[in-house]
């Protein structure tokens, strides 16, 4: 039980970084980016390449995050923004993002092949917290997640840019009218979201003993479940959703069929949709298009 809880904490850490990154960018830019998982996968493989050449784990994760940020900003600049400028609706944009995801995913697959990879065994002392034993890489994972979450919270809450992001997610036209440079804020949101995707991807691959190109696709289930659980578009909700679902899926997986742990997240998603479609926190609610 305690062991499953430990795994749950690690999953929650990875999931919170990913789900918050996904939600933050969605709420600010109003584009549902299905290529998010492709960015995670690409960054995870960047970290793999770096580790193979001998870069230390910490540095590899940081560089993977950086690569994710650049990739995300590049995709937004090169593909999404031109389509948005043309007046493509939010529905059209989902098709644009899934096309991008498909292209990205398969380019990676063509490059690395269908095989399985591993970051290798991470050396370091295991940590014992009153019976809860965490390996060194699990501690790294949780540490990175806590740092990213703290930085995100402080940034959103106390910086001018963070305030502008929150304003933009609640009411874009009002934010623009108040002098917020929306283009720049949206660009920063894409960068930040990509950084989180990159870190999340590297951590996911670190946590998954052996990973392949498709590892990220299944992670999409939990990311979406966490995002809807907390309330579509709410970063705080996505964080709480991630923590709850991360622990819930691992604990349930320990007692049930392990391959089906993601299905637990899906069951929660269905339950939320039936009982409370707006999620736990619905800051911008579900029908924002009426405002935007």
């Amino acid at each position: 039980m305690l062991g499953a809880f430990g795994f749950g904490l690690v999953t929650a850490a990875i999931l919170s970084v990913s789900a918050v990154g996904f939600t933050l960018q969605y709420s600010v830019s109003n584009v549902l980016n299905l290529a998010f998982v492709s960015i995670m996968t690409a960054s995870g493989f960047v970290a793999y390449g770096l580790i193979v050449v001998g870069v230390t784990l910490w540095l590899a994760i940081a560089l993977a995050a950086l690569a994710g940020g650049l990739l995300s900003a590049l995709i937004n600049w090169g593909i999404y923004t031109p389509f948005i400028r043309r007046g493509t609706s939010t529905f059209g944009m989902v098709i644009v993002t899934i096309s991008t995801a498909l292209i990205g995913q398969n380019l990676i697959q063509a490059a690395v092949g269908p095989g399985f990879f591993s970051y290798g065994v991470v050396t370091g002392r295991a940590v014992n917290l009153g019976g809860l034993v965490l390996t060194a890489d699990q501690v790294v994972t949780i540490g990175v997640a806590v740092a990213v979450m703290a930085a995100t919270y402080l940034g959103l809450q106390y910086t001018k840019l963070g305030r502008a992001m929150r304003a933009l997610s609640v009411n874009p036209s009002l934010a623009r009218a108040c002098g917020v440079d929306t283009g720049r804020v949206v660009a920063v949101a894409w960068l930040a979201s990509g950084v989180m995707a990159g870190a999340g991807g590297a951590l996911l691959f670190l946590d998954t003993a052996t990973f392949s190109v498709t590892t990220g696709s299944y992670f999409l289930i939990v990311i979406i479940a966490a995002a809807v659980f907390g309330g579509v578009g709410s970063a705080k909700g996505a964080f709480l959703g991630a923590v709850i679902l991360g622990v819930a899926t691992e604990v349930a997986g320990a007692y049930w069929i392990p391959e089906l742990k993601d299905v637990v997240a899906f069951a929660v998603l269905v339950l939320v949709l039936l009982v409370r479609p707006r999620g736990l926190f619905s800051e911008i609610a579900t029908l924002r298009q009426a405002v935007g």
Partner: protein
């Protein structure tokens, strides 16, 4: 013609018919009504599994070669009809959960997740639908009747598919051009307006979900009765995207356009890869095929969003300037 070429030709024609039915089914949902069903492939798959279960007979009879629940051996048209019923029921169920008050784009992703989870479940539970390996040895309906075997049977099956395909075409065309079709297009263009005119947009979405699910299941059932096998690797979530590409390239809500799209993408591109000259290995080719499909979709959305054969928009009288928003982007429900 030698029999190998004839078998190849019949296979292509059956694929074409199956893809036509499936593409029109998606077109009713996505092209006409504006519902983004990113879980579309699940319905085709449900139809295939249903038809397989209804014609395989009990699992024990195969000597434990494959495991699945239930298993009945029903005479010819019943497995197809059963598949249609399963598709419709699944459409209702998924629609009931998935079409709730979520914003349209998130709705699409939730449906995508539904299809990912479904394949995960089927793969992880070997006793359910034979897991990863999938169902095989599905008996071909009426094989040997009137001396039809081998190539002659294949041509008879092509004929049957053509008849079914024709019936579906008539059904879909009548539906789209009926007053009800206007309701569906109104839901796509402006659902609040449709609601205000007394036509429930959520009911219309639900109805096309059920109808599209039934037709998708029919296409899957036809396919499995011809190929005799169905496995999770054949309905991974990107497969849904092939049908979206078909509809976008052909022309949303344009039945002939979608037919052209189906011929080009489902048969053309898929076969072109097989004939690819360089000796690249199969997995790389498969990946590049997806890349081409993705780029084609983006290219069409950018340069020719109305598709190869655009929907004919009927107008009644002069339209006030500025309201003519059609002929371009996916326009539904942009709102004020």
């Amino acid at each position: 013609m030698n029999s190998a070429i004839q078998l190849y030709a019949t296979t292509l024609l059956v694929y074409l018919a199956v893809n036509l039915i499936a593409s029109w089914a998606l077109d009713i949902q996505f092209g006409v009504t504006g519902v983004l069903n990113f879980g579309f492939i699940l319905f085709q798959s449900a139809g295939a599994y249903a038809a397989a279960l209804l014609s395989l007979g009990p699992a024990k009879a195969s000597g434990g070669f494959q495991q699945y629940f239930g298993g009945w051996q029903l005479p010819f048209p019943l497995p197809l009809l059963g598949a249609v019923a399963v598709g419709a029921a699944l459409g209702w169920l998924v629609g009931w959960v998935g079409l709730r008050r979520l914003r349209g784009d998130f709705q699409a992703v939730v449906l995508l997740v539904v299809s990912v989870v479904a394949s995960l479940v089927v793969e992880s539970l070997p006793g359910f639908l034979n897991g990863d390996a999938g169902l095989s040895l599905v008996p071909k309906p009426l094989l040997g009747l009137a001396g039809l075997t081998g190539v002659s049977y294949a041509w008879a099956f092509v004929g049957f598919c053509a008849v079914v395909c024709g019936l579906v075409a008539i059904l879909v065309a009548r539906l789209v051009h009926s007053p009800y079709g206007r309701v569906l297009r109104a839901v796509r263009e402006n659902d609040a307006l449709a609601d205000a005119m007394g036509r429930s947009s959520s009911r219309a979405r639900m109805e096309v979900f059920v109808l599209g699910g039934a037709l998708a299941a029919l296409s899957g059932a036809l396919l499995v009765e011809f190929t005799t096998a169905w496995a999770p690797s054949g309905w991974l979530y990107p497969e849904t995207f092939v049908y979206f590409t078909i509809v976008i390239i052909g022309g949303r809500a344009s039945l002939p356009g979608v037919a052209v799209g189906a011929a080009l993408i489902a048969v053309g591109i898929q076969q072109a890869v097989q004939l690819f000259p360089i000796g690249a290995d199969a997995t790389v080719l498969a990946s590049l095929q997806w890349v081409v499909i993705g780029i084609l979709t983006l290219g069409f959305l950018w340069w020719r969003p109305q598709g190869l054969i655009p929907e004919r928009v009927r107008r009644f009288g002069p339209t006030p300037a500025g309201s003519a928003t059609r002929g371009g982007e996916v326009q539904e429900g942009v709102g004020p």
